[in-house]
Subunit: 108 residues, 2 copies
DNA sequence: CTCTACAGTATCCTTGAGGTAACTATACCA
DNA sequence: TGGTATAGTTACCTCAAGGATACTGTAGAG
């Protein structure tokens, strides 16, 4: 008996969906702490505007932590919060499922 | 070391995201086999056009099975495929995370 | 003096997911 | 003769996410 509520699932989905959010989260999972320019480099086609917007979204939800160093040229880095790290199992579950799905599609 | 690939996660996300897909999947998880009209009733604000489109999407990915009975008035029902049922753990994981998130937001 | 590095803003534009409303086919019922 | 039920389809519309491009501020290097 599953007892899954669409509302809760939607909440989780809202935070991790979008064209870029999964890639950003995965970059931070694998890269620990990354500067803005490092993130941009690992997402080849994203524009600065969009990257900033997505990072601000994630920060507002306390999923990532943004640290500004008062230097010139500016330096800002991003990392997963402890809370954000609780998303890792969710992403792992989806990743595992995605691999099965790809496997399956290859056979058709 | 997580080793999560954005590509695979995106694949999984594409199949279960959208404004209505989670609700449809959950209805079928909880309701086993449902007619078109039953699904429509359990998603109060969806239009026929959108519901049809979403169901066709899910059918094309082999996640649900669509059965047409050659009767008048028409009867069609939908259920999760065995393959579609492998999504249940994914949705459960997201559901559990969503509950934690809601809990957390309530305290702020 | 001006060029570069970095992390952004500001403007304007495009696209596709989703939405609304009307129409379809057919058998049965009154 | 017309109304009802079911599972759609068709044509048209809307809006927000995302995208392209240019501009900003400041310190040090040359």
């Amino acid at each position: 008996m599953p007892l899954i509520s669409s509302c809760e699932v939607d909440t989780a989905l809202e935070l991790i969906t979008g064209k870029w959010k999964p890639s950003i989260l995965l970059a931070l999972i694998n890269g620990d702490t990354l500067r803005f320019s490092e993130l941009k480099r690992s997402l080849p086609n994203i524009s600065q505007k969009i990257l900033t917007a997505q990072l601000r979204d994630l920060e507002e939800q306390d999923i990532i932590i943004r640290t500004v160093y008062p230097e010139v040229p500016p330096r800002v880095d991003y990392r997963l919060s402890e809370y954000g790290k609780t998303l890792i199992p969710v992403l792992e579950t989806m990743n595992a499922w995605g691999i099965q799905h790809a496997e399956r599609m290859r056979q058709k």
